[in-house]
Subunit: 254 residues, 2 copies
DNA sequence: CCACCGTCCATTGTGTACAATCGCGCTGTT
DNA sequence: AACAGCGCGATTGTACACAATGGACGGTGG
């Protein structure tokens, strides 16, 4: 339990109050990555003290990071009960996908208008990285990079609120994919990303939007949101036995 | 500086760790309201210690509340420099409005599909409250209630991510209105809200969306985002002198 | 007289101690 | 033996103490 990560402790030991927010960001990014790459399974308890020891920081920092993650929807903060990795229900997944369709359409249209040559080049680079990850068999990194592609696209749309919203949606999408993907197919078609970039570069808005919508369809179809397998959400598992429940799920899983 | 608010201190004094998050919520809500009702002007410094004394809680609580507010975009957190009430630039305002058009359209369509009779009744109640506030001359509460109407509408859309995003957008919108409104006109036409509810109740999606878009136009037209008066953003004030800044201002258009 | 620089002070960033809460196992009773 | 009530341990929630940062102020030199 005493082993700690090196990169965190670039300085002696304690008391390096400086670099405001840097520690937060590091912890946040590490947990975030671990969740999105499915190294942390949904439902896993995230103990503040344990994380503090692992990263070599106090609970204060951990707590801030968890707070941010909860705000993005990848972590569930249960009052007095600690934090766990979120395990989106089917209904939550549907809502996220609905919202994403909406946002992705808008982002695509805006990106066609505003994307600079530099941004397009960066997008191509990201697709390359993504392809590399998949060819290396690093599925987790692939999911993450695929998400980062969509995030980069949002940046090209030049709209801060949309970027922020997209970050949250992409994070949750990655979590959903990790949880519900029907394993056999190669799940993220990076060639669709390439086609999308081509359309954006040609400033063909209609084509780009169509491609994006098809891309969304493909992602959607690769998930089995209808018959969810092996959930730890008892309410969902036995939902067919319940007659009068509210549309929204309590989302409390044990 | 020693005067404190009563409602906060419902119990003896310190150590009431219970009711997890309640104190946070109270502090958060109070600051939030104060900002939206323009009792706190944009740019005002929000000292942690001062707020802590006012609310009778420690800086820990204040810090969390400020963090949440920053996440929603109504407070700006400057590392090592403290928090201030956000003062959205014209460009930021444009981005928020663009995003809102997008989201409001989707919310309206979803609300037409999903709104229950109960929710519609609640919406009518909110419009009443809003009208009362304006007739009382309580402009601040009016702005806030107008925002809460749109938030309630988002709830009727039954999509958690959209609700969360809408909350952020509405907050920022209120701040923008408070900052940029050209003072003479009565600014929020609650009768438009009433018409909107009627359309939703009749399940007339096309009409509802049209009304919502016109509503957005009206809000937009009441702001003078073109000639911003007396900004404290030097970059914006002297932007015409700068040659190599960010690529101009991408016109807000979809 | 103005500009530069070193010191001070106010304020934030972080770690840590302590108190409250929740879940869980134990014991006693029926 | 099963269930209810109760204390206990573990973990989170809060407050506070200390360290570090950044700006302000005043002194000194040009």
């Amino acid at each position: 339990m005493n082993e700690q990560l090196q990169p965190l402790k670039k300085q002696p030991r304690a008391g390096k109050a400086g670099r405001s927010g840097t520690q937060d960001d590091i912890v946040y990014a590490h947990i975030f990555e671990a969740i999105l790459e499915q190294r942390l399974a949904p439902g896993t308890k995230l103990s503040e003290e344990a994380l503090g020891e692992i990263f070599g920081v106090s609970r204060t920092i951990i707590r801030r990071a968890l707070s941010r993650l909860a705000h993005e929807g990848v972590v569930l903060l249960r009052p007095n009960r600690g934090a766990v990795v979120a395990s989106p229900s089917v209904e939550e997944a549907r809502q996220v996908f609905l919202a994403r369709r909406l946002v992705e359409r808008a982002i695509t249209e805006l990106a066609v208008q505003h994307a600079t040559a530099e941004q397009i080049a960066e997008l191509r680079q990201m697709v390359n990285d993504e392809r590399d990850s998949f060819s290396r068999g690093d599925r987790g990194a692939g999911i993450r990079l695929s998400g980062e592609f969509h995030l980069k696209l949002a940046e090209a749309a030049m709209n801060a609120p949309l970027i922020s919203f997209q970050r949250s949606l992409v994070s949750q999408t990655s979590l959903i994919i990790a949880q519900y993907e029907s394993g056999n197919r190669s799940h993220c078609s990076y060639d669709e990303h390439t086609q999308l970039i081509d359309a954006i570069e040609k400033r063909d808005g209609e084509l780009a939007v169509n491609l994006m919508m098809h891309h969304m369809d493909h992602i959607d179809s690769k998930l089995n949101l209808d018959e969810e397998g092996a959930s730890d959400d008892l309410h969902a598992v036995f939902s067919h036995l319940l007659q009068t429940k509210k549309p929204g799920r309590p989302s409390a899983k044990l």
